[in-house]
């Protein structure tokens, strides 16, 4: 499908299929089209060309009301004038479900999202993480076929984010609802999703499980977006794929240690090669201790694995050097 806003191409001939019950991440820089794709799936935007199918049914022309999707908005879009209970119950009450059923279902959801006892509060009286979980419960209340989350953890601080990620993973394991979430945080995508869709400039760059994405990036963009990277001439090298030694070797370059940062388990070393190229290297603490390097030392560096990509972005095979 394709979608443009004026001159801006939000989706450029994108095609994607998502397996039932899976947890899929749409990953990419902002303005890359991921939120637009999510909104098209929800029916909040109409694609210019193309089709949307949900559970074997064509849904392109369906209004959002009829699609049976749950949508969690970036800033949660709480109904500020309703209590937490009424927020969660909204999807059920407008379908005129019996009161007892609504009450039972909402209580069940409140417990599930760990908001038991807070049903009488207003959204303004909740913390960011609680509001997030309320939005999730609201989206799940009428048992949608697809759950869509737009930057679900974007507005939360680091600790709450981590807690919620683990919690969402457990929730997905229990409920098995097909889930698609948008994120610009590669760590989040790799940790949560079983399939990651990398998007850039309105195109899909790669669809793959996390491990494959990291080890077999389809092109230079994916390689540099998913994880840190050094550019060496035409090749790309991961910081942990650079070996440091004290002995000269034929396939190695001389380099000077410029800076060493110890971050607990990980040690980052910045080097300047004899040809002036700057390199970032990641070592484990153990490796660093064994090496006994210090700022100003002259060492030898060698690329263990480097990747080159053709002009079209296609990978030429990885080169073990």
């Amino acid at each position: 499908m394709s979608k443009r806003f004026g001159d801006f191409v939000a989706l450029d001939d994108v095609s994607l299929s998502v397996e039932s019950g899976s947890l899929t991440a749409l990953l990419g820089p902002s303005g890359g089209g991921k939120s637009t794709l999510l909104r098209v799936i929800a029916g909040l935007e109409v694609p210019d060309t193309g089709e949307v199918w949900i559970s074997g049914q064509e849904a392109t022309a369906l209004k959002p009301q009829k699609r049976d999707v749950g949508f969690v908005f970036q800033h949660y879009a709480p109904f500020t004038h309703m209590t937490v209970f009424d927020n969660i119950a909204f999807g059920l009450t407008i379908r005129r479900r019996p009161k007892d059923e609504v009450r039972a279902r909402v209580e069940e959801l409140l417990e599930l999202v760990q908001l038991k006892g807070l049903g009488g509060r207003y959204p303004a009286q909740l913390s960011g993480g609680q509001r997030q979980r309320m939005a999730l419960a609201r989206a799940l209340a009428s048992q949608p076929e697809v759950l869509l989350l737009d930057e679900p953890f974007g507005a939360l601080d680091a600790r709450v984010r981590k807690e919620l990620r683990e919690w969402l993973l457990r929730l997905h394991d229990e409920m098995h609802v097909t889930t698609i979430f948008v994120t610009h945080d590669q760590e989040e995508a790799l940790e949560l999703a079983d399939t990651v869709v990398v998007m850039n400039a309105g195109r899909i760059e790669q669809v793959a499980p996390p491990r494959e994405l990291y080890d077999e990036p389809a092109n230079a963009f994916v390689m540099s977006f998913v994880g840190p990277v050094n550019r060496v001439g035409n090749a790309w090298v991961r910081p942990h794929d650079i070996e440091i030694g004290h002995e000269p070797r034929e396939d190695a370059h001389e380099a000077q240690v410029e800076r060493i940062v110890r971050l607990g388990f990980e040690v980052r070393v910045d080097l300047v090669r004899d040809d002036g190229l700057r390199l970032h290297v990641q070592l484990t603490r153990h490796e660093a201790d064994l090496l006994e390097i210090a700022v100003g030392d002259i060492v030898w560096v060698r690329m263990r694995v480097e990747r080159t990509f053709s002009a079209g972005g296609e990978p030429t095979h990885p080169v073990p050097v």
Partner: protein, 267 residues
């Protein structure tokens, strides 16, 4: 998202069509009728009718008075806004509510109240009935809230830190007002006086009793139009009405521009 077209919220064509239809029926078509009437005899004829001595005198007086309204309101309106925001005294909230009274009070009543106090039987030693001073007073009455209500919110939002910073840099009170506060108030002040100006150009109810019916002396533009309708000269009335319409529209566009200018620091 640039130009995002959202579809979740009902049918744009229906609400847009209804809104446009209603607006056309109530506002656009009637105004078109005035323009059509004025243009009946062609451009030359229009000019002849609109630019006769009486009409010119009425327009001149109207602009003179509106200019006076702008000058007085710029000072008193800012002073009132300042008093309501930065000063504190018993009864302030009542004063704040009273400022809106001219918005709520029918204009004919406004004119009558001024005549009751400052007219021939007022007993305060002045008589402004049938004078330009009286007309000016009526215009000041109905335009009183405009500057106050545009400047007040800006003054409330204005960061006191800036003034304190200026003071710490050695600026005196007058310098702080002139260099720090005033530039922030200016766009709001200008759109306030523009609204007051527009109102003063078109005001009718408040002035009709005070002005009497004295061409060349107290006859402002709206009274001219009214008198010419009454004396069965719709073409003459339309000619001046079209000029007033153009002035109103120009002022509206100016005010819109001022609003955008006022928010230029926020973007």
């Amino acid at each position: 998202m640039p130009g995002a077209r959202r579809r979740a919220l009902g049918t744009p064509a229906l609400s847009g069509g209804l809104a446009l239809g209603y607006l056309s029926l109530i506002v656009l078509i009637p105004l078109a009728a005035v323009v059509a009437k004025a243009a009946d005899g062609g451009w030359h004829h229009f000019w002849q009718v609109a630019w006769n001595r009486e009409a010119r005198a009425a327009l001149e007086l109207t602009f003179e008075l509106a200019g006076g309204v702008v000058a007085v309101n710029a000072v008193t309106g800012t002073a009132l806004a300042w008093t309501l925001v930065r000063d504190d005294f018993p009864g302030k909230s009542i004063v704040n509510a009273i400022v809106d009274l001219p918005f709520a009070l029918p204009t004919i009543v406004a004119g009558l109240t001024l005549l009751a106090l400052y007219g021939p039987t007022g007993g305060v030693g002045v008589d402004v009935a049938y004078t330009r001073w009286g007309v000016l007073m009526a215009l000041l009455f109905v335009t009183l809230p405009f500057v106050v209500r545009t400047v007040q919110p800006v003054l409330i939002e204005l960061d006191r830190d800036m003034e304190e910073a200026a003071a710490s840099l050695g600026a005196g009170r007058f310098t702080i007002f002139r260099r720090i506060v005033f530039p922030h108030l200016l766009p709001a002040l200008l759109s306030g006086v523009a609204l007051a100006f527009a109102r003063a150009i078109g005001e009718f109810g408040a002035v009709i009793l005070i002005a009497g019916n004295l061409p060349f002396k107290t006859e402002v533009a709206s009274l001219y139009v009214f008198e010419h309708i009454n004396s069965d000269d719709p073409t003459g009335a339309s000619a001046l009405a079209v000029l007033m319409l153009v002035i109103s529209f120009t002022l509206l566009l100016t005010i819109g521009g001022l609003r955008r200018w006022a928010t230029r620091h926020d973007r």
